[in-house]
């Protein structure tokens, strides 16, 4: 039996009202893949990522995590809804997300943020979770900030905490939605550095980004979304040196 891909998305559709935002996107990530998702503002990158962990409910299409399908059904109004919310919650705990706006829990300290998921969702024993949290904070270079509240950290530090919080769940796949876009330029490097380390560890990652350098150098595959469809995809070396479509070429020239 061939090994299951870590994440498989099949023919995903999502509309907001009459506005079709995602029009049949499929994507497959093998374990250790880093997929960079590019696209102009409004092309549906965030919506696509949010459909994977059901922060938005797709209208149709299937999501498989390590071969397990997230089961959906139609409710009596004909809308697509999860069949079993428990299954969705379990899937979400294996799909960590890092947001553009960090979204740390402001009433908790850095350490409490990192402990929250393992202790209260995965029910990891506290001592074990603490040990791991300390190691993760060391990994993102924030051991000395464990007792700070998020509001007392810089943006770059907050995003590194958010990455540690995501890692604490031992996720199968990590979803990043423009993790550096809200940062001052001088703080972007520290976050990208942590993400490069993760890629080197063969973490499976989907990264929506406007950082062309990161997509080109770090991703194993780059996908360009245009108006809710995959317009061009492939190895970054190929895409960046010799784009096939006019749209991607135009996008690249705008980015540079």
């Amino acid at each position: 039996m061939a090994e299951e891909s870590a994440l498989k998305v099949q023919d995903l559709h999502k509309s907001f009202g009459a506005h079709k935002v995602i029009r049949g996107v499929s994507m497959e990530a093998q374990k250790g893949d880093v997929i960079a998702i590019l696209g102009a503002s409004g092309s549906g990158k965030s919506t696509f990522l949010r459909c994977i962990n059901l922060l938005e409910t797709p209208n149709s299409g299937d999501v498989y995590l390590a071969g397990e399908k997230i089961r959906m059904k139609k409710n009596r109004h004909g809308e697509t809804v999860p069949e079993d919310i428990r299954q969705v919650e379990r899937m979400r705990s294996r799909l960590a997300m890092v947001f553009q706006g960090f979204n740390l829990w402001t009433h908790m300290t850095v350490l409490e943020n990192v402990l929250e998921g393992p202790v209260h969702v995965q029910k990891t024993p506290k001592a074990e979770a603490r040990e791991k949290a300390a190691a993760l904070l060391a990994k993102v270079g924030l051991s000395d900030r464990a007792d700070y509240y998020p509001a007392h950290l810089s943006g770059g530090q907050q995003q590194r905490v958010a990455i540690a919080r995501a890692l604490a769940m031992d996720p199968d796949v990590m979803l990043f939605d423009e993790p550096t876009s809200a940062l001052d330029p001088e703080l972007v490097g520290e976050v990208l550095g942590v993400m490069r380390d993760l890629a080197d560890e063969a973490r499976t990652m989907l990264v929506v980004t406007h950082e062309m350098g990161f997509a080109r150098d770090v991703s194993s595959k780059t996908v360009f979304l245009h108006q809710g469809e995959v317009c061009e995809e492939g190895a970054p070396s190929k895409l960046f040196s010799n784009p096939d479509t006019e749209q991607f070429r135009a996008f690249l020239s705008r980015m540079n």
Binding site: R90, A96, W105, T106, H107, M108, T109, G117
Partner: protein
């Protein structure tokens, strides 16, 4: 000392002679107010969750309740329970009559509890609704269930943000508790009125009562300042203070 006392146009001696009565009044005011705040606060939590939800039955039901209790004076509510319910034969004959609805203390306690529950519900609902959307999404994305989100993220955050507004509710309730003196209870104002009536005084009783209420408000204000320092430090701007350690 005597010379100073003579300058004050108050019968200090009389006030001091009845000091223990005033202390009983303080006790009555405090136990009524704070028991009502405690029970009303506990009732407010599930009701605020209902009001912050889109539940088609619970939300409008709780809304109707808070609308009525916030739209009518506490004095009227207390009278309706104390004088009104006794008009019904069924009430007088039910197990609720003795020892509960026939007792002035219980009637005041029930009215105060229902009143503060209504205000606290709407106050907490506001704080729940104002929880930053991103923080709730982060909990959803982590795999928290609705209950876990409420218990771990939304309520702890909302309680903290509600502290400043809730301090007004506590002071409002303390002041409102004077209503107890209109249904025979010897709270602080009740003792003041008794003193004035007993000795045909113009204001010794009221001045003493005012001073006692003032001192209690002072203590409440201090308590809330302490709560804000300890539980709202996480929202203080950067560098304004040394980082607070987790409470």
């Amino acid at each position: 000392m005597q010379a100073v006392l003579d300058l004050i146009p108050l019968d200090i001696g009389l006030i001091l002679a009845n000091f223990d009565r005033f202390m009983w009044g303080v006790w009555m005011t405090l136990n009524l107010t704070f028991l009502a705040l405690l029970c009303g606060g506990l009732l407010a939590i599930p009701m605020a969750i209902a009001r912050a939800s889109r539940h088609p039955v619970l939300n409008p039901m709780v809304w109707g309740y808070t609308y009525v209790f916030r739209g009518t004076p506490l004095l009227v509510q207390t009278f309706l329970i104390y004088f009104g319910l006794g008009q019904f034969e069924a009430v007088r004959e039910s197990w609720l009559w003795d020892p509960i609805l026939s007792s002035a203390w219980w009637c005041a306690f029930i009215a105060f509890t229902l009143n503060t529950a209504a205000y606290s519900t709407e106050l907490l609902r506001g704080a729940i609704i104002d929880t930053p959307k991103g923080e709730v999404e982060a909990a959803v994305a982590t795999g928290h269930s609705y209950a876990a989100r409420m218990r771990r993220i939304i309520l702890p955050s909302a309680f903290r943000r509600a502290i400043p507004a809730y301090s007004n509710e506590v002071i409002f309730m303390l002041h409102g508790s004077v209503v107890a003196s209109t249904i025979t209870l010897q709270d602080i104002l009740g003792v003041g009125r008794w003193l004035n009536g007993r000795y045909y005084l113009a204001y010794e009783g009221f001045i003493t009562a005012a001073l006692l209420y003032f001192l209690i408000v002072l203590a409440i204000t201090r308590l809330f300042r302490w709560l804000e320092r300890n539980y709202l430090g996480h929202l203080a701007p950067r560098d304004s203070e040394a980082p607070a350690s987790p409470q």
